[in-house]
C-alpha cells in the first residue's frame, strides 16, 4: 500500500485558526460528555455513599476489565430535547469488555428522574439492543429504573418502537442465544421490573434492590394492602420466595463482580464471528491531532479526503482504486488498527462517474468480504440539465443500491456535510450501517439551509404574487436558522441520528472498537453475481 504524502501546512494562519476553532468546539463537547457521564450531583453522591451504592461511572469501572475499551452509544441523547436533565436521557449505553468478552452494557441512571424512560431513553435502549442483537454481544443491564416517565407516557408506551419493544427484543435475543444478565441495583418498578424479569440471569443486592410491578403506594391505592418495599419485592423475596432472582449478593460491588463471574461461564459458542486483524496494528504516520488543523467549521469549505484518511489509517497507507476516474470520490484499501477495510471518502460533489466508481468499489469489497468505512462529507449529487440527461439519478441509484444491499459491515463517520441523496449513497443512518459516529462540526440536512431557504422563497413567490420582500426575507432567515439549528451535530446526536459524537482524533480508535464489536462471517459470498464493471 502506498504511503500518503500530506500537503497540509500546519503553520499556516488558516490551519492555526481551524485548530483553535476545533479545540473550542471540543471543549463544548467534553463538557456535555462530562455531564452525561457524571449525572449525579454532589449531594446525590453523598447519599449514594451512605447507602453503599456507587455512581454510574464507578459501576461501569468495576464492571469492565482493566484493559477494556469503552464505546459509548448515544451518550448525548436528549441533549437538546430534555434540557432539564443531564444529557443521556437517563440511560447509559456502552460496549465494554467484561471477563474478556465485549458486551453491551445498558445502565439506568437512577439520579435522573428515578431512571425512568423518556421517549429518547426508549430509543437509546432499543438502539443498544439492536447493536447487541446484530453483533451477538452479551447484554448486561444494570437496572435501577422506575419504568415509563409518566408525563410523556403517550410517547413512550403504545407504539411499535416504544417501551414494549425492549421486552420483545429481550425475548428474541434470548431465543437467538445472546446472553442477557441483569444486576438489579435499586428500585425496579413496573416497566423497570420487566428488564430483569425478561433477562436470563438476575442478581439482586440484599437490602438495596427491589422488583415489583406495582410499588407499595400503588398496592395501597389499588387493594388497600399495606406492605413495605422489601416485603413486596426485596432481594430475599425474589431469591427465596418468588424465584425471580437467581443470585443474592451482599453489596452492589459483589453484584457487579457476580456479573463478571457469570460472563466467565457463558460458554463462547460460535454464535459470534469476529473479524480478524490481517496485520499488526501500526500508528498512522501523521498525527491524528492534525485533523483539528484540517477540518473547517464551515462544511462548505473543501477538505481533501486523502488528508483525512492519512490521519486515520495504519501507517497512513492507502491503496487507491481508480484514482483518475470520478475523482470526487476516493475509494481504496487500508488498515485500521490492523483490520483490513475499504474506505470510501467524499472529495467534493458526487458526479455520475464518482457514483459508478463507488458502486464498483462497494461491489468489490462485498465480494471480498472487506468491511467498508464511509467518510461522509458531501453536499450532494451534481444537478443541472447536463447531469440529469447523462443519468445522474440512475448512477446515484446504483451506488445507493450497492450500499443498501451489500452484506459486509459498514461504518460511517460524518466528517463534514451530509446533504440530500449524498447521505444515502454514503451510508447514512437509514442504510443499515453497523455504527455511525459524527464529528462535532458536522452538519446534516436534506439540503443546505441557504439552498432550502431559496427553494422555499421561490415556491412562495411562485404561489403568491402578493408576498412582500420583507415576508420573503423573514421566511428565508427563519429557514436558515431552523436548518442551522436542526442540522447541527449536537442536535443530530440528541435525536440519536448517530451513535455518538467523537473527537476526530479518536476516529481510528473508535472504528477499531466498532470493528471488534462486530459479528460478521467473512467466509465467501458465492451466491451473488460477479462484479459488474461500470
Amino acid at each position: 500500500m502506498i504511503k500518503l504524502q500530506s500537503q497540509l501546512n500546519l503553520s499556516s494562519e488558516e490551519s492555526k485558526k481551524r485548530k483553535e476553532d476545533y479545540l473550542s468546539l471540543l471543549h463544548t463537547l467534553s463538557e456535555f460528555q462530562h455531564k452525561a457521564r457524571n449525572p449525579e450531583s454532589s449531594s446525590v453522591i453523598e447519599k449514594l455513599k451512605s447507602q453503599n451504592k456507587h455512581t454510574l461511572l464507578e459501576r461501569i469501572s468495576n464492571l469492565v476489565d482493566l484493559d477494556s475499551p469503552i464505546l459509548e452509544i448515544g451518550l448525548l441523547a436528549g441533549l437538546k430535547e430534555y434540557p432539564e436533565i443531564p444529557p443521556g436521557a437517563g440511560v447509559y449505553g456502552a460496549i465494554g469488555k467484561i471477563s474478556g468478552r465485549l458486551s453491551m452494557i445498558i445502565a439506568n441512571i437512577p439520579s435522573v428522574k428515578g431512571g425512568s424512560y423518556h421517549p429518547l431513553s426508549v430509543k437509546k435502549h432499543l438502539r443498544a439492543q439492536e447493536i447487541a442483537f446484530e453483533n451477538k454481544l452479551p447484554v448486561v443491564s444494570l437496572v435501577d429504573s422506575g419504568g415509563a416517565f409518566l408525563p410523556l407516557q403517550s410517547e413512550v408506551f403504545p407504539d411499535k418502537d416504544d417501551f414494549g419493544r425492549i421486552f420483545y427484543n429481550q425475548a428474541q435475543m434470548s431465543k437467538a442465544g445472546i446472553p442477557q444478565i441483569a444486576a438489579v441495583l435499586g428500585l425496579c418498578t413496573a416497566g423497570g421490573a420487566y428488564v430483569p424479569a425478561m433477562s436470563e440471569q438476575v442478581i439482586m443486592v440484599a437490602g438495596n434492590s427491589t422488583i415489583f410491578l406495582g410499588g407499595p403506594p400503588l398496592v395501597k391505592a389499588a387493594t388497600g394492602e399495606i406492605v413495605t418495599a422489601e416485603e413486596l419485592g426485596g432481594s430475599k423475596v425474589h431469591n427465596e420466595i418468588s424465584g425471580l432472582s437467581d443470585y443474592e449478593e451482599q453489596t452492589e460491588l459483589d453484584a457487579i463482580l457476580r456479573v463478571r463471574s457469570i460472563l466467565e461461564a457463558i460458554n463462547d459458542r460460535p454464535i459470534r464471528e469476529t473479524i480478524k486483524r490481517s496485520q499488526d496494528s501500526r500508528e498512522p504516520e501523521y498525527d491524528p491531532e492534525e485533523l483539528y488543523s484540517l477540518l473547517p467549521q464551515d462544511v462548505r469549505q473543501p477538505v481533501p479526503a486523502l488528508e483525512l484518511i492519512a490521519r486515520i489509517v495504519d501507517e497512513s497507507r492507502f491503496d487507491e482504486f481508480k484514482s483518475g476516474y470520478g475523482e470526487t470520490l476516493k475509494c481504496g484499501f487500508s488498515h485500521i488498527d490492523g483490520f483490513l477495510v475499504g474506505i470510501i471518502a467524499n472529495d467534493g460533489i458526487l458526479f455520475g462517474e464518482s457514483a459508478l466508481k463507488g458502486a464498483h468499489f462497494i461491489d468489490l469489497c462485498d465480494k471480498r468480504r472487506i468491511p467498508l468505512v464511509f467518510l461522509q462529507n458531501i453536499t450532494g449529487f451534481m444537478i443541472g440539465k447536463e447531469y440529469e440527461h447523462s443519468g445522474i439519478a440512475k448512477h446515484g441509484a446504483k451506488m445507493v443500491t450497492a450500499v443498501s444491499t451489500c452484506t459486509v459491515p459498514k461504518y460511517t463517520i460524518m466528517a463534514g456535510g451530509s446533504f440530500g441523496a449524498g447521505n444515502y449513497s454514503m451510508c447514512g443512518r437509514a442504510f443499515g450501517g453497523k455504527f455511525l459516529f459524527s464529528y462535532p462540526h458536522s452538519k446534516i440536512s436534506v439540503m443546505g439551509g441557504i439552498q432550502a431557504a431559496k427553494v422555499l422563497t421561490e415556491i412562495k413567490k411562485a404561489g403568491n404574487t402578493k408576498v412582500t420582500e420583507q415576508e420573503l426575507n423573514k421566511l428565508e432567515q427563519e429557514t436558515i436558522n431552523k436548518f442551522e439549528q436542526e442540522g447541527n451535530a449536537f442536535y443530530a446526536t440528541s435525536c440519536l441520528w448517530d451513535d455518538g459524537i467523537i473527537d476526530p482524533k479518536k476516529t481510528r480508535e473508535t472504528l477499531s472498537i466498532a470493528i471488534q464489536a462486530t459479528s460478521f462471517d467473512q467466509s465467501s459470498n458465492a451466491e451473488t453475481l460477479g462484479i459488474f464493471r461500470m
Partner: protein, 641 residues
C-alpha cells in the same frame, strides 16, 4: 576452572560415585561440579518424593540417580547417620559430600563412612573432632598462641554454682557476655547477657536450644565484643600436608548471629591484620591436620584492631561462593580432587580479583518477625541482569511450582554479585534483587534491599544490622510507602490502559509479606519516589503481578463476599418440618442443651430419612409431637430457646 595438579587422571573420575548427603541449592551446586568432572552423583530424597517421582525436585534433577529415605522427618533422614550411611552403601557410593549443615560436621558420621569404605569429602574424623567442636578448637588456638576471646566453658549446668560463676565472669571476663552452644553454628543456642541477673535464665534456654539443635548441652560463656567484625578465612588442605588460604570473607552483617550478607574480600580492612589472620588460620589448620576445605572465623574488635579466633568450620560453607567469584576457583572441585589424592596449587598462584557480595534470600518474612513462609512457589523470575551490566550468580534450590516446606532451612536461594569494586558489586546485587520475583511466598528480599541501600563502603560491625534496620517502625513505613505507591499506580499507570473518564476500579492488593492492604486515606508521599511499582506479569486474565522494593504484590479484583451463615438465620424458636412425612425419632428431651448443628429430629419422607439440625445453640423448651406422628410441611415439632 582450577589448576589442581592431578594425581588421578580425569578418566578415573568416572569410576566414582558421589553421594550428595544434602538437599536444596547446595546439593544442586555440588552435582554441577561433579557432572563437570564426570563423577556420577546420587541424591537421597524424602520418602514423599517417591510419590511424585515423575517430577524430581529441582535440586536433584541433574543427579545421575536418586534414592529415597524411608521417612520425611529430618531426624530420620538427612540428620540420621544410620539411614544416610545405609543409603550411601546401597547406592554403591565411593565418595560422599555432606554439603553444609546436617551431618557435615559430625565425626561419628565420618567414622561410619570410613568403616563402609566410603571416602568422605572433607576432613578426617580426627580433624573434625579437633576443629569442629568449639571447645577443642579453642584449646588448639591456645596451644598455637592464636588469641581467643576470654571466657569459660560449661559442661554440666546442674553442677555449677551460679553465684561463683557470676563472680568469676565479672572478674575474669567482664560484661557484656555471650553464651554459645559448644557444638553449634548458625547462631543457634546463642544469648547475649547484658545484666548478670539474667545469666541463669539465659543459660537454661541456651542449653535447651543447643540440645534440640545439636544434641549437646555443652556451652561457652565469653566476652561479648559489641563493635566487632566477623572476618573468616577460607582454607583448604590436601592429603600431602599442603595448606593454602583463599583469602577472607566479611560476614559481619548478621541478624541473631545468622549471616545475612557476605562480602569478599573484606573492605576497608587493614592489610597487616589480614595477613595475620591468614597466618593464624593456616597455623590452626596445620595443627588440626586439615586435609580439605575449612573456614576459620575471627572477630576483629574495631576499636582496638585486636583479633580473636572464634571457631572453625571444617566443611564447605554457605558463603563459599563469593570466594569462588574473587579467586576464579571452584571450591567443590578442589574438595573432590584433594579428597581423591590430588595436590593443591601453590599459594602464590591463587589470585584475588574484584569484589563479590552474597545475599541470602530466605523464605521468611521480616515484617512478621522473620516467620518462615511456606506454600507453593507460584511464580519465580530470576532477576537476571543484561550481561553487559554485570555478573550475577544465582544458586537456587527450588523452581516455580514446587512446594516450599518449613521442615528445612529457610534458604531459598543465594544471590551472588561480582564487580570490579565494591560499589559495582553492590549495585549489581541491588539491581538483581529489585528484579527478583518470588510469589506467593513471603521473602526477605525487601529487607536485603534495604540493607544494601544502607550499606556504605565503611563496612558495619556485627551489631549494626540489629540496631539499624530491625525496628517495627521501618516495616510500618514500608507498608505505607507500598500502599501509596499502589494507590498511585492504580490511579495513574493502570488507567492509561482505560478510558480516561473511568474512575479507578475497586481492586484488592495482596502481598505475602503483609496481612492486608487497604487503600483508604493513604496520602501519596512525594518524597518517597525512588521506588516504583513494576509490572512483572499478568496472571490469569487480569491479575497483575507487580514488584515494589522487593515485595511481590498482586493486584486483582476483590472476591465476592459471601454472607455469613449466621446472618441469614432468623432465630426461629419453632422447629418445623421442612416437608411432609413421619417423625422417625426425636433425639432430644426437654431441657437438653443442644449445640448448633446437632440433629434434633429424624424424619421419614418419601422413604428417605431427613435430619433436622439445630440452627443455633439452644435449649429444648417443648416437644410438641411424638415419634410416629404424621407431619405436614411447616408442622411445629419442637420449641427451643
Amino acid at each position: 576452572m582450577s589448576n589442581v595438579k592431578n594425581s588421578n587422571s580425569e578418566s578415573l573420575h568416572n569410576q566414582h560415585v558421589l553421594f550428595v548427603a544434602n538437599r536444596g541449592e547446595i546439593c544442586r551446586r555440588i552435582i554441577k561440579t561433579a557432572n563437570s568432572l564426570g563423577i556420577k552423583t546420587i541424591v537421597p530424597l524424602l520418602a514423599d518424593n517417591k510419590n511424585t517421582k515423575k517430577t524430581l525436585p529441582y535440586f536433584a534433577r541433574e543427579a545421575t540417580e536418586v534414592i529415597y529415605y524411608k521417612s520425611n522427618n529430618p531426624l530420620e533422614t538427612y540428620l540420621s547417620i544410620e539411614d544416610t550411611v545405609a543409603l550411601a552403601k546401597q547406592s554403591n557410593a565411593t565418595l560422599l559430600h555432606p554439603g553444609y549443615g546436617f551431618l557435615s560436621e559430625n565425626a561419628d558420621f565420618v567414622k561410619a563412612l570410613t568403616k563402609e569404605g566410603i571416602l568422605f569429602v572433607g576432613p578426617t574424623a580426627e580433624t573434625m573432632e579437633r576443629l569442629g567442636s568449639k571447645t577443642n578448637a579453642k584449646w588448639l588456638a591456645k596451644e598455637q598462641d592464636v588469641p581467643i576471646i576470654p571466657g569459660l566453658e560449661l559442661n554440666d549446668l546442674n553442677k555449677i554454682n551460679i553465684v561463683e560463676l557470676k563472680e568469676d565472669l565479672i572478674s575474669k571476663v567482664g560484661l557484656p557476655l555471650i553464651i554459645k552452644a559448644a557444638a553449634g553454628g548458625g547462631g543457634r543456642g546463642m544469648r547475649v547477657v547484658k545484666k548478670i541477673e539474667d545469666l541463669e535464665n539465659l543459660l537454661a534456654s541456651a542449653s535447651e536450644e543447643s540440645y534440640r539443635a545439636f544434641g549437646s548441652r555443652q556451652l561457652f560463656i565469653e566476652k561479648y565484643i559489641e563493635y566487632g567484625r566477623h572476618i573468616e578465612v577460607q582454607i583448604i588442605g590436601d592429603s600431602k600436608g599442603n595448606i593454602i588460604h583463599l583469602y577472607e570473607r566479611d560476614c559481619s552483617i548478621q541478624r541473631k548471629f545468622q549471616k545475612v550478607i557476605e562480602i569478599a574480600p573484606a573492605q576497608n580492612f587493614k592489610e597487616d591484620i589480614k595477613l595475620k589472620l591468614y597466618e593464624s588460620a593456616i597455623k590452626l589448620a596445620k595443627a588440626g591436620n586439615l586435609t580439605n576445605a575449612g573456614t576459620f572465623e575471627f572477630l576483629v574488635d574495631t576499636s582496638t584492631d585486636q583479633f580473636f579466633f572464634i571457631e572453625s568450620n571444617p566443611r564447605l560453607q554457605v558463603e563459599h561462593t563469593i570466594t569462588e567469584e574473587i579467586t576464579g576457583l571452584d571450591i567443590v572441585e578442589l574438595q573432590l580432587k584433594v579428597a581423591l589424592g590430588a595436590s593443591l596449587p601453590e599459594q602464590s598462584t591463587i589470585q584475588c580479583h574484584g569484589v563479590s557480595i552474597q545475599a541470602r534470600v530466605c523464605h521468611e518474612i521480616p515484617e512478621k518477625n522473620f516467620l518462615p513462609s511456606t506454600g507453593k512457589l507460584e511464580y519465580y523470575k530470576r532477576g537476571d541482569l543484561p550481561p553487559s551490566e554485570g555478573r550475577i550468580r544465582v544458586d537456587l534450590g527450588y523452581e516455580e511450582g514446587e512446594i516450599i516446606s518449613g521442615n528445612f532451612d529457610s534458604l531459598l536461594q543465594k544471590s551472588i554479585s561480582y564487580g570490579n569494586n565494591f560499589i559495582i558489586a553492590k549495585s549489581n546485587l541491588l539491581e538483581h534483587l529489585n528484579n527478583l520475583v518470588v510469589y506467593n511466598i513471603g521473602t526477605n528480599i525487601s529487607f536485603l534491599i534495604s540493607i544494601l541501600k544502607e550499606l556504605e563502603w565503611k563496612i558495619p560491625t556485627t551489631t549494626w544490622l540489629e540496631s539499624n534496620l530491625l525496628t517495627e517502625n521501618i516495616h510500618d513505613n514500608k507498608k505505607v510507602a507500598l500502599i501509596s505507591a499502589l494507590n498511585q499506580f492504580i490511579n495513574t499507570e493502570l488507567k492509561k490502559e482505560r478510558e480516561s473518564f473511568l474512575p479507578s476500579p475497586k481492586l484488592s492488593c495482596e502481598s505475602p509479606n503483609f496481612e492486608s492492604l487497604h487503600f483508604e486515606n493513604v496520602k501519596i508521599d512525594k518524597t518517597n519516589d525512588n521506588d516504583h511499582i513494576k509490572v512483572v506479569d499478568v496472571l490469569g486474565r487480569e491479575d497483575i503481578l507487580c514488584i515494589y522494593a522487593g515485595y511481590p504484590v498482586i493486584i486483582k479484583r476483590p472476591d465476592i463476599k459471601f454472607k455469613e451463615e449466621n446472618e441469614s438465620i432468623s432465630l426461629d424458636k419453632k422447629i418445623t418440618s421442612p416437608l411432609p412425612g413421619t417423625i422417625l425419632k426425636i433425639l432430644v428431651s426437654v431441657g437438653d442443651i443442644v449445640p448448633k448443628g446437632k440433629t434434633l429430629v429424624k424424619l421419614d419422607s418419601m422413604k428417605t430419612e431427613h435430619s433436622i439440625n439445630a440452627k443455633f445453640d439452644c435449649i429444648v423448651d417443648k416437644i410438641c409431637l411424638e415419634e410416629g406422628s404424621k407431619v405436614n410441611k411447616g408442622s411445629v415439632i419442637l420449641e427451643v430457646e
